[in-house]
C-alpha cells in the first residue's frame, strides 16, 4: 500500500535560484528511503523541509494522511510532526546525561528508556555526559533519543559521515538492526552509494531524480 508519506511538487530556494524544484516523493510505511547525491544538490534541504525546519515555497507534504504543509497556509511546526532527526554532528544536549538526553522527548509506548539504553548497548553509561562518550557512542545516543520520541518517520542526515571507516561500518550495521527491530520507516541522506544500498529499499538519486526500487 502506498501513501504513508507523500511530497508533491515541493519547491524551495534560499535566494532567486531554486534549489529544489517540483520535487516529488512517495513511499510506504515499510520503506526505508535513501536520498543520494553529492554536496550542494539539496539532499539535506529536502530533509529539513520534511522535518519542518525550513518552509517550502510551494507544494504539499502529507504524513499518514495528515497535511504537514501546503501552500494554502497549512504549516505544522517541527514539534508537531512526530519525526525523529539524527544529524551528522551528534547534537546531544551537553548539559544532560545520556539517560536524560534519551528521556528528553520520550513519548510513552511499549519501549521504556531502559530498553533504548539496552538497544544501543550503553546502559553502563546512562549517567555519563555527552562529552565523556566516543563519537560512535554519541551517535548511538542521538539515534536512541530520536527513536524514543516514537516518531512516525526517522530522518537521518548523513549520520555516519563524521566517523572513521571502521566505526562507520559497525554503527551502520547497528542502526540498520535497530530500525528493522523497531519497524520504523526512515529517510537517510547520504553521498555514499554503498550506504544507500545497504540501508534503503528505495533510492532517490538527486543527480537524475530517478527513483530506483
Amino acid at each position: 500500500m502506498s501513501g504513508h508519506f507523500k511530497m508533491e511538487k515541493i519547491s524551495f530556494s534560499y535566494d532567486e535560484k531554486p534549489l529544489i524544484d517540483n520535487f516529488q516523493l512517495e513511499f510506504d510505511k515499510s520503506d526505508n528511503v535513501a536520498l543520494l547525491g553529492p554536496s550542494g544538490k539539496g539532499k539535506s534541504t529536502i530533509l529539513h523541509l520534511i522535518a519542518g525546519f525550513l518552509k517550502p515555497k510551494s507544494g504539499k507534504i502529507i504524513l499518514d494522511g495528515q497535511t504537514l504543509f501546503d501552500q494554502k497556509g497549512i504549516y505544522l511546526p517541527p514539534e508537531k510532526r512526530s519525526m525523529g532527526v539524527v544529524f551528522q554532528e551528534h547534537c546531544l544536549f551537553p548539559h544532560l546525561s545520556v539517560e536524560k538526553n534519551i528521556q528528553f522527548g520520550y513519548q510513552e509506548h511499549q519501549h521504556g528508556i531502559q530498553d533504548y539504553l539496552d538497544l544501543i548497548k550503553l546502559s553502563h553509561k546512562a549517567n555519563s555526559k555527552p562529552d565523556e562518550l566516543s563519537g560512535g557512542e554519541q551517535q548511538r545516543v542521538s539515534l536512541a533519543r530520536a527513536l524514543a520520541s516514537n516518531p512516525k518517520l526517522l530522518l537521518l542526515d548523513e549520520p555516519f559521515s563524521a566517523l572513521d571507516e571502521d566505526l562507520r561500518v559497525k554503527l551502520r550495521e547497528d542502526v540498520k538492526n535497530i530500525l528493522t527491530e523497531l519497524k520504523t520507516s526512515s529517510i537517510i541522506v547520504t553521498h555514499s552509494k554503498n550506504e544507500a544500498q545497504y540501508f534503503a529499499n528505495k533510492i532517490i538519486d538527486l543527480n537524475d531524480l530517478r527513483a530506483n526500487d
Binding site: C91, F93, S149
Partner: protein, 521 residues
C-alpha cells in the same frame, strides 16, 4: 642580557601595580594608634553590618534584573526574525554610555519629592508619586543601575546565543518542544557558566561603584571607605574597610578567570530564528522594547536636554571647556598609556613568554573599587613621604587608572592577537625578520583596529571614572566627572546637564566605534 632587562622591567611594573594590593593586605593587620582604633571600633559596631547587608542586597538585585533584561534582549535580537534588529541592538548597548552616577542623579532629579516629574504630578493631578515610588529604595536603585549594567549581560548572552548549535535546537523541536520550551529547557541551561560569568561582572561593577550609590545616600563599602577617609579623616580605617571588598573582588576575579577558559573554545554559528512572532506578538515585542528604551535611553537624554535648555548661556558653555579639556586629556593620556602597556605584555607573551601569571595579576585591578586603588596609592605615598603635586600627582593618577582599567583593554587586544596564526610569525622570521620587525611590520597592522578599539574602550572608562580621579587628581585638574560630583553633592542637578551630555556624547561615539568594528553595524 635581554632577558634580564625584561625581568627588571617586570619587577618595576610588579612593584607599581602590586603595591596597592600588598599595602591593603599588610595594613589590615598592622596595629594602629588608640584614636584610630576607636574610630575603627565605632565603624565595626555601627556601620559594618549594614554595609555588608546593603552591598549584598544591591548586588543580588542588580544581578537578578540584569540577567532577566539581558536574556530577553539577547533573545529578541538573535533568535527572532523581527525587523529593525540592528537598531534595537544599538539601543540596548548605548545606555552603557551613561555613567552610573549620571543615570542615578537624573532619576533622583525626576522622582525625588522636589523632582521635576514628582512636582508635575503633584501640581497637575494632585498625585503624590512618592507614595508609590521610593526612588532611594534598594529596589529602585537596582532597577536604575540595571538599565546601565544590562548592556554587559546583553552582550554576554548575545555572544552565547550566537554560538548555540542550530541543529541542537532543531533536534529539540523535532522531539516535540516548542520554541519557548526549547529556550527554557535546552538553551538557557547551557548558559549556566555564562550566567555565572556575567553575574560576577555585574557584582564587581556594583561593588566598585561609588558615584551612583553616593547619589542615593545608599551606604556600600565604597561610600564608607570614602567617608572614613574624607569624613572621619582615618586613612587606617578606610584601608581596613577596604579589606572586605578586596577579598570579595579576589574571589569574584578568580572565579571569572576559571570560567573564561571554557567559553573561549566555542565558535559562533550562522544566525537563525527560533521565534517567528505573528503580528500581535510583534507589536507586543515592539511595545516592550520601546518602553524599555524610553526609560533606559530616551527619557534620561530628554531630561538632560531639558535641564540644559534651562541653564545654558554662552558664559556657562565657555566655563565647561576647561573641564572638557582636562577630561579628554586624561582619557587620551591614560588610554594610550594602558594600550601601550598592554601591547608590551602581548609582545612579550608572543615572543618570549612567561607573562601569563603577571597579566592575570594585573587584570585583578579591574575587580577593585576605584576608592581602594586610590587610597592604597595615597597610603604608599604617605609612607615614603612623597610630595603629591604637579607631574608626580598626574603620573600617580594615570597609574591608578591604568591599574583599574588594564583588564578590558588587554582582553580586547589579546582576543585579536590570539587570532593571528603562529605560522605567520614563523613565515616572517624564516624570511630574516627580527621579532621586533615581525611585530611592527606584520602584527601591528593586523592589530591596528583592535588597538584603536581598546584605546577607545579605555578612554570611555576613564572619562566616566569618578572616585580615582576625585581622590588623586592634582589641584589644577578638574574633569567632567569630578565637576558632576561637586554639583550633585549640592543637589544642583540642572547645572550638571552640559557636563553629563558631554560624557554621554563621547561615551556613545566611543561605544559606536568599538561596536561598529565588532559587529559591522
Amino acid at each position: 642580557m635581554k632577558q634580564n632587562k625584561f625581568t627588571i622591567t617586570q619587577f618595576i611594573y610588579m612593584v607599581l601595580f602590586a603595591g596597592p594590593f600588598l599595602f591593603i593586605f599588610l595594613n589590615s593587620f598592622l596595629s594602629t594608634t588608640k584614636e584610630e582604633s576607636e574610630t575603627w571600633n565605632f565603624i565595626l559596631e555601627n556601620t559594618l553590618p549594614s554595609l555588608i547587608s546593603n552591598t549584598f542586597l544591591l548586588i543580588f538585585l542588580c544581578v537578578m534584573f540584569t540577567l532577566v533584561f539581558g536574556v530577553i534582549q539577547a533573545t529578541l535580537t538573535t533568535l527572532t526574525n523581527i525587523r529593525f534588529k540592528k537598531l534595537f541592538h544599538f539601543s540596548f548597548i548605548i545606555p552603557l554610555a551613561y555613567p552610573l552616577y549620571v543615570i542615578s542623579y537624573i532619576y533622583v532629579g525626576m522622582f525625588e519629592y522636589g523632582g521635576d516629574i514628582s512636582t508635575y504630578f503633584r501640581n497637575t493631578y494632585s498625585l503624590n508619586l512618592n507614595q508609590f515610588i521610593d526612588i532611594k529604595s534598594p529596589l529602585s536603585i537596582a532597577i536604575i543601575f540595571s538599565m546601565v549594567l544590562t548592556p554587559y549581560s546583553y552582550l554576554f548572552f548575545r555572544n552565547f546565543l550566537k554560538r548555540i548549535n542550530k541543529k541542537q535546537i532543531w533536534c529539540a523541536r523535532s522531539l516535540g518542544f516548542g520554541p519557548f520550551e526549547t529556550l527554557l529547557k535546552v538553551i538557557l541551561p547551557q548558559a549556566k557558566s555564562w550566567m555565572i560569568a556575567v553575574s560576577i561582572l555585574i557584582s564587581l561593577e556594583v561593588l566598585c561603584d561609588f558615584g551612583g550609590v553616593s547619589i542615593f545616600n545608599y551606604e556600600t563599602f565604597t561610600v564608607a571607605i570614602y567617608e572614613a577617609w574624607m569624613g572621619l579623616f582615618s586613612l587606617n580605617s578606610a584601608i581596613k574597610l577596604s579589606f572586605i571588598p578586596l577579598f570579595l573582588a579576589l574571589i569574584f576575579f578568580t572565579l571569572n578567570q576559571k570560567l573564561t577558559i571554557k567559553y573561549d573554545k566555542l565558535e559562533a554559528s550562522k544566525p537563525f530564528s527560533l521565534f517567528h512572532p505573528n503580528n500581535v506578538q510583534t507589536y507586543l515585542i515592539f511595545s516592550i522594547i520601546t518602553f524599555y528604551t524610553l526609560f533606559s535611553l530616551v527619557l534620561p537624554l530628554a531630561v538632560l536636554l531639558y535641564w540644559l535648555s534651562q541653564t545654558i548661556t554662552v558664559d556657562f558653555f565657555l566655563s565647561t571647556l576647561p573641564y572638557l579639556w582636562d577630561s579628554l586629556l586624561l582619557g587620551t593620556v591614560s588610554g594610550l598609556f594602558i594600550a601601550l602597556i598592554s601591547l608590551f605584555y602581548l609582545y612579550k607573551d608572543r615572543f618570549i613568554g612567561g607573562v601569563k601569571s603577571m597579566t592575570n595579576f594585573l587584570k585583578l585591578g579591574y575587580a577593585l573599587p576605584g576608592t581602594i586603588v586610590a587610597i592604597s596609592l595615597m597610603g604608599i605615598l604617605s609612607i615614603f613621604n612623597i610630595n603629591y603635586f604637579g607631574s608626580i600627582a598626574y603620573f600617580i593618577l594615570v597609574l591608578a587608572l591604568a591599574i583599574r582599567f588594564f583588564a578590558p583593554v588587554f582582553d580586547l587586544q589579546n582576543n585579536s592577537y590570539k587570532m593571528i596564526n603562529k605560522k605567520i610569525d614563523w613565515a616572517s622570521t624564516s624570511l630574516g625578520a627580527s621579532r621586533l620587525k615581525t611585530f611592527w611590520k606584520v602584527h601591528f597592522p593586523i592589530l591596528r583596529p583592535a588597538i584603536v578599539s581598546s584605546f577607545l574602550l579605555g578612554f570611555l572608562e576613564i572619562i566616566k571614572e569618578m572616585p580615582i580621579t576625585m581622590i588623586l587628581r592634582p589641584h589644577n585638574v578638574n574633569t567632567l566627572s569630578t565637576k558632576i560630583y561637586e554639583l550633585t553633592s549640592e543637589g544642583e542637578w540642572e547645572q550638571t546637564s552640559l557636563f553629563a551630555l558631554c560624557l554621554f556624547v563621547f561615551g556613545s561615539l566611543s561605544l559606536y566605534s568599538v561596536m561598529k568594528k565588532d559587529e559591522n553595524l
